[in-house]
């Protein structure tokens, strides 16, 4: 049909771009995992399973994977706990300038991620706000080491991901029919019960979408551990970067990339079976 063909014409540039820049590279990457690493920057198409064997047997990689999953999970859960409350407040409040609260959630998206991340140095560092304040009051004598720890990395990631969580939950809350709440209250629920039985279950899709998005973005992060973490706080993304950009071991770098891609793909696939992928970004596209 002519209509259909026209739709494909419209899609063509985006499609070509995505096939060449996204699909093709991932296919090449999969092939590369079977190449043999000779020396930095040199590899041969010998089709060996050595990279995969190394990945599955060397506990070094498993530790990285485990640490990344743990840090990403802590980040996502902390975002859920910290993000639900403001979303609930914005939804419930009778405050006249609700738009201002929503606008303030969008503003961080406009501020450079790099700047937002390094600004934590001024809070957590030895010359940072917390240490300087505590020392001037006399509670501590020497600065506490907070920067360049796993905690600092998690803090930075929460700071970056929180707006995604709040917006996702808020969109979900907005979809709830408020009459249901009044009904629950008239039928004798306390406000805590009404929240537990009505509001919370109905806002779960947004909460889950936020959890998934935060987990995936945290698990793939590279720059936050670079700026706020020490050497021991490197995550899987840093491992990939170092393997490729420093060791120039392309076959192993490809193997690690495919591992991360597949694992995060599984997480997203499980989610999209239940929710649909586009819910995740509803919060952002408003």
């Amino acid at each position: 049909m002519q209509q259909t063909r026209f739709a494909w014409y419209l899609l063509a540039p985006a499609l070509i771009l995505l096939v060449i820049l996204l699909v093709l590279p991932i296919i090449i990457m999969m092939i590369y995992t079977f190449y043999e690493f000779i020396t930095a920057g040199v590899e041969q198409a010998n089709y060996t399973a050595a990279n995969w064997r190394e990945f599955f047997t060397d506990s070094y990689y498993h530790l990285f994977l485990w640490k990344t999953a743990r840090v990403a999970a802590i980040t996502a859960i902390a975002c859920a706990l910290m993000g639900y409350v403001p979303a609930y407040f914005i939804w419930m409040t009778s405050f006249r300038h609700k738009w201002l609260l929503l606008l303030l959630l969008i503003v961080p998206f406009w501020i450079s991620f790099t700047i937002r991340t390094f600004s934590w140095i001024h809070i957590l560092g030895e010359q940072g706000a917390i240490n300087v304040t505590l020392m001037s009051i006399g509670i501590i004598d020497s600065p506490i080491q907070m920067l360049y720890t796993e905690g600092a990395v998690i803090m930075g990631m929460i700071h970056f991901l929180l707006p995604y969580m709040i917006l996702n939950v808020y969109v979900s809350l907005e979809g709830i029919d408020r009459d249901l709440l009044s009904a629950a209250r008239t039928l004798g629920c306390t406000s805590a019960q009404a929240f537990r039985e009505v509001t919370l279950p109905l806002s779960l899709p947004g909460l889950c979408a936020g959890l998934l998005l935060c987990f995936v973005l945290a698990a793939g992060s590279y720059v936050t551990p670079q700026i706020l973490g020490g050497n021991r706080d490197a995550l899987f993304g840093n491992l990939i970067y170092d393997t490729i950009m420093q060791q120039l071991n392309w076959p192993m770098g490809s193997t690690l990339s495919i591992v991360l891609f597949v694992l995060l793909g599984i997480v997203s696939a499980i989610y999209s079976r239940y929710m649909g992928l586009s819910t995740i970004f509803k919060g952002l596209s408003r």
């Binding site: 209509q3 771009l17 995505l18 419930m92 501020i111 001024h122 709440l181 970004f281």
Partner: protein, 272 residues
């Protein structure tokens, strides 16, 4: 209809806790940024506390820093190019995905969102590998194309959301009166779509200007974009210059859209 909060004791206390926690979260989100802005006016030679006096000297230093100026120019040009091309491609794709029915539409929808879900590290490695495989050097073109891919999902989503709200009857009326598809788009759809397009352009500009992870992989040898330049400076020391740079960038990336929105409100009236 408004739900009344203050009916039982647990509700009252619960609501107070919610209010307090909300304030705490907003403080958490903005305190580090505000501290950076304040420290950029610090006269001290070191990037942190204590404040030793007010000074604008670090801003002056910034404008004499060749590397920073070069990185700034590079980023601006890449962001402008990305914003224009990505918005055009994205609007076309969004039109196809909302206005037409065809086989494989669901798959296309997913594919267009993909770049936003795949970690940037993987996208970064993938594109480098493609270049290696094709024996091509890393170039500015690669950087721009990569940024276009990264920002595409956001354009499509923003434009789609608006397109769904535009009634199809307007376009059908124009078509049935003999207008071509292109002039229907230009005369009817485009004007109605304008707010979304402006929003998309600004969004793409920020995404590109702000991108760091993928840019670290893709930048041509010896080239720094604004964020990678900041990262390079951070590795040397936390100098007050970085605070000044950060403050200027916040002023640009937050000030522009806010000013744009404000001017829009004044020109087109206050529409909620």
């Amino acid at each position: 209809m408004k739900v009344r909060q203050a009916e039982d004791a647990s509700g009252v206390w619960g609501w107070r806790a919610v209010k307090l926690l909300t304030i705490a979260v907003y403080v958490f989100m903005f305190a580090p940024i505000i501290v950076t802005v304040i420290l950029s006016f610090n006269a001290s030679m070191f990037g942190g506390f204590p404040m030793t006096g007010l000074s604008l000297q670090w801003y002056g230093k910034l404008f004499q820093n060749e590397a920073v100026l070069r990185a700034f120019k590079t980023s601006i040009w890449i962001a402008i190019l990305t914003a224009i091309v990505c918005t055009v491609i994205g609007v076309m794709a969004a039109m196809a995905l909302t206005r037409y029915e065809f086989r494989g539409k669901q798959l296309m929808n997913t594919m267009v969102i993909m770049p936003a879900l795949v970690p940037e590290t993987i996208l970064g490695v993938g594109l480098l590998l493609l270049m290696k495989w094709a024996h091509q050097p890393r170039s500015y073109l690669l950087l721009v194309l990569g940024h276009i891919m990264l920002a595409l999902p956001f354009v499509v989503l923003v434009v789609q959301a608006r397109l769904i709200g535009i009634k199809r009857v307007y376009e059908e009326a124009a078509l049935s009166l003999g207008a071509s598809r292109f002039s229907t788009f230009r005369e009817v759809t485009l004007p109605l779509l304008m707010p979304a397009i402006v929003a998309a352009i600004l969004l793409v500009f920020t995404i590109s200007f702000d991108n760091i992870t993928a840019s670290l992989f893709w930048r041509p040898p010896g080239v720094e974009t604004m964020p990678t330049q900041i990262l390079a400076m951070l590795k040397i020391s936390i100098s007050p210059e970085i605070n000044a740079l950060g403050t200027l960038m916040i002023l640009i990336t937050v000030g522009l859209p806010l000013a744009g929105g404000l001017i829009g409100r004044i020109l087109f009236g206050n529409r909620q």
